[in-house]
Amino acid sequence: MTDYFTVFGLPRKLAVDVAALQRRFYELSREHHPDFHHGADAARQAEVLASSALVNRAYRALRDPLARVEYLIALEEGREVREGATEKPRAPRGLLEEMLEVQETLAEAKAEGLGGEAAGRLRDERARLEARHAAEADAIVARAPDWDRLVDEGGDRKALLQWLKERLATRAYLRTVIDDLTDALGEREESHASHRRH
């Protein structure tokens, strides 16, 4: 399958002009959207259906800086990617100890029956983790220019790729812990919401 950068005629780099991307998205949509091929034969209709689906998916992956990094890593590794996977990520090594502590706090709070004080502690903990979750995103996006420089200079990208991957895993893991806390507090309304909020 054509990769998303190619769909938009872009180099495999992380700096993307989002306004230009949107303009191109509208142009490509006008070319490929099934609405404009209604009179065509069945084969052609199937073709534009597939190509407009590809354009839509590509735009979704590239318009958001973080989703872009996720897609790039998958692409570099030759993996099939899809959004919203629910496999629980494993805790990255550096995070294990800290997460054990969070689990302990959670267990204690549960033992206390999640009363006012215990619930308050969980909410504080969650706020701290939310802040870390946001900080991870900033840290990942901040390295985007490094990647592009390596591409331009032909440098070795492996180390940076590995670093980005770890940060993403950390972030994903933080999200599941935050969701667990929200669940424990009985405050979760829609469980998948988090997969879409980058």
């Binding site: 509208y26 949509s29 006008r30 959207h33 099934p34 609405d35 404009f36 209604h38 009179g39 259906l49 597939a50 407009s52 689906a53 590809l54 839509n56 998916r57 735009y59 979704r60 099939e80 899809r82 959004e83 919203g84 996977a85 629910t86 496999e87 829609e190 469980s191 998948h192 919401a193 997969h195 879409r196 909020r197």
Partner: protein
């Protein structure tokens, strides 16, 4: 250019529209009416639709079906709570609810097909040639099964449904054609039975939906119900009568409540008078009364609005324009709440009853190739996933993804020599499969026998521009296409739909004249019925000569009604109506006086 019409298949009313000379217009019927009540009645004369069916609601309650949109694509479990409130009988079966009319069963798509056929005929009468293709609108928050059921209804009615369009998006197209607005638009659509909120970005003729949310079971019907409950309690207190077990009285109460609700959008207070058989009911209702009854329902629309904004990544302040669609947005309370939420006045410059049909006509024109500078990019309202081990949902396509879209997923076998794999596809936002909407079970068959884990079956889930799922499968090692048998959880199978299409050719009153004759006869029967009842109840207030005159007109109508001369039947019906009008007026006055006097007596008793 092919002639494609746009149809708004509403809970309460339906319309058909078409773009002529670059302007979308609603097509009226012979009497100039644009709204067709979405009501179908089975009468001894045949099936009637629209106004004629509406007049059957009270006297033929068990065989008159209304608000069927709420049952489209639903199973018995989904709707059983509200069945107690419906006067027609619904057969308890899990997959597709089915309505019992005498000795036959009809499904919601078949009922809707009658409404669609009436609109099709209306359009054909207007153009003087057959109309075979249509765009039909659905609530944006409709799931796959509800969309499919709507498409099936079109097919049964003899229409090729070229596109299913979301109602709020259609409305934005109608507005877009008026004046190319640029920026972020929120469309708040509260209709007879459903609620949608859509956030769009409009730029250079592209209408890009950013997010949508809603509730397919919240609308004007629920407001009416709240009011009926309030009135029932009031009647219990003041008259000591419980009407809830009387389907005919309940329909009269519902119709009275609906009319009073509409009046209260323009007046601060209104009087509801219903002359029931046993007593006359007379009640002052203020707008404040009504608002207290429906406040929780209106509040329930605000959560989806906030969620849609969050999903679009926008704050209320970033919305440039708020558009109101649907008859229920005429209610001042709704307008106040929406204005508060978005912090800016909401408007409905185009008629909120017609704007969706007009937008459907615009989309029809785009498909016909008549409009090339507008493009609609819509989204899927609900996440699509498959059930994995432990009953957990793995999301393949998140909600608010632009459609068409696709996702590929790979499966293998767990037993040596296994040749088939089972998949369970779901729609919804919850983590556990059982909490989501089951769409279908897929049977991947024809896998070559191989050791366990060897086959690699690629399944492509594609959501088309209608928001409807298509699936394809192939085994990658052999490159062989695997067959997918789709068993829809809720909905009709292909064979059932084909059977219904066939039946509709056999039973349908495809001839407009036959249909009109049935309607005219049914109308005559309604009037005959009313007059007979009035004469029975009139007692002393009808003079002998007057009674004689009425009975003569009655006899004439009874005779011509048996014939096939439509104009004769219509004229005699009007004559009978006129002959009875003064009597009806005197009876209404007497009823009101009666109610007021008994109220005064209550009041005196309370005071003493």
């Amino acid at each position: 250019m092919p002639r494609i019409v746009g149809i708004d298949l509403g809970t309460t009313n339906s319309l058909v529209a078409y773009v002529e000379g670059g302007i979308p217009r609603v097509i009226p019927d012979a009497e100039g009416r644009t709204l067709l009540p979405s009501i179908v009645a089975w009468t001894p004369n045949g099936v009637v639709v629209g106004e004629a069916a509406r007049r059957q609601l009270a006297r033929n309650a068990a065989r008159t079906v209304y608000s069927v949109k709420r049952l489209m694509g639903r199973g018995y479990e989904d709707v059983k709570d509200e069945l107690a409130r419906l006067p027609f009988a619904v057969t308890p079966q899990a997959e597709v609810v089915s309505i019992r009319i005498g000795d036959r069963e009809v499904t919601p798509p078949e009922v809707s097909a009658h409404v669609l056929r009436a609109l099709k005929q209306r359009a054909e009468a207007h153009f003087g040639e057959p109309v075979e293709q249509a765009v039909i609108t659905v609530p944006a928050y409709f799931n796959d099964a509800q969309r499919q059921a709507t498409k099936d209804a079109g097919r049964i009615a003899g229409l090729e449904v070229l596109r299913i369009v979301n109602e709020p998006t259609a409305a934005s197209l109608a507005y877009g054609l008026q004046k190319m607005a640029q920026g972020v638009i929120a469309v708040y659509d509260l209709g007879g039975g459903t609620f949608d909120i859509s956030i769009l970005r409009v730029k250079d003729g592209v209408f890009e939906v950013l997010a949508t949310n809603g509730n397919t079971h919240l609308g004007g019907d629920d407001f009416d119900r709240a009011m009926v409950d309030w009135l029932l309690a009031d009647i219990q207190v003041r008259h000591g009568i419980d009407l809830s077990g009387d389907p005919e009285a309940m329909q009269e109460l519902r119709l009275g409540a609906e009319a009073a609700k509409c009046r209260l959008s323009f007046d601060d207070r209104t009087v509801l008078t219903i002359p029931f058989e046993r007593f006359a009911y007379h009640r002052d209702i203020t707008r404040a009364d009504l608002e207290a009854m429906v406040e929780p329902l209106v509040a329930a629309t605000l959560g989806p609005c906030r969620q849609a904004l969050a999903d679009a990544g926008l704050g209320a302040a970033q919305v440039d324009e708020v558009v109101l669609v649907g008859g229920s947005t005429r209610m001042p309370l709704v307008q106040r709440r929406v204005t508060e939420l978005f912090g800016r006045p909401a408007h409905s410059r185009l008629n909120p009853d017609e704007v969706v049909a007009l937008g459907a006509a615009v989309q029809a024109q785009i498909l016909a190739g008549g409009i090339t500078d507008m493009l609609l990019l819509d989204v899927t309202p609900l996440s699509l996933g498959i059930e994995t081990l432990g009953g957990i949902v793995s999301v393949l396509i998140p909600r608010n993804t632009t459609i068409p879209t696709l996702a590929k997923e790979y499966f293998t076998t767990s037993v040596d020599g296994q040749t088939a794999v089972d998949l369970h596809v779901l729609q919804g936002e919850r983590e556990l499969a059982k909490d989501n909407r089951s769409l279908a079970r897929f049977d991947l068959a024809g896998v070559d026998p191989m050791p366990a884990g060897m086959p690699k079956i690629e399944v492509t889930f594609l959501i088309d521009a209608n928001g409807i799922l298509q699936a394809q499968a192939r085994e990658l090692r052999t490159g062989k296409a695997a067959s997918i048998e789709v068993k829809p959880t809720y909905g009709l199978t292909e064979t059932q739909v084909e059977q219904m299409v066939e039946d509709s050719y056999t039973y349908a009153e495809d001839d407009v004249n036959a249909r009109l004759l049935i309607e005219t006869r049914t109308e005559a029967d309604t009037v005959i019925n009313h007059v007979e009842r009035a004469l029975r109840q009139a007692g002393g207030i009808v003079a002998p000569e007057e009674r004689e005159r009425i009975e003569a007109a009655l006899a004439v109508l009874r005779t011509v009604r048996e014939g096939t001369d439509r104009d004769q039947i219509r004229e005699r019906t009007i004559e009978l109506n006129q002959a009875t009008a003064p009597l009806a007026e005197r009876m209404m006055e007497a009823a009101i006086k009666d109610a007021v006097t008994s109220k005064r007596a209550d009041w005196l008793l309370e005071r003493s």
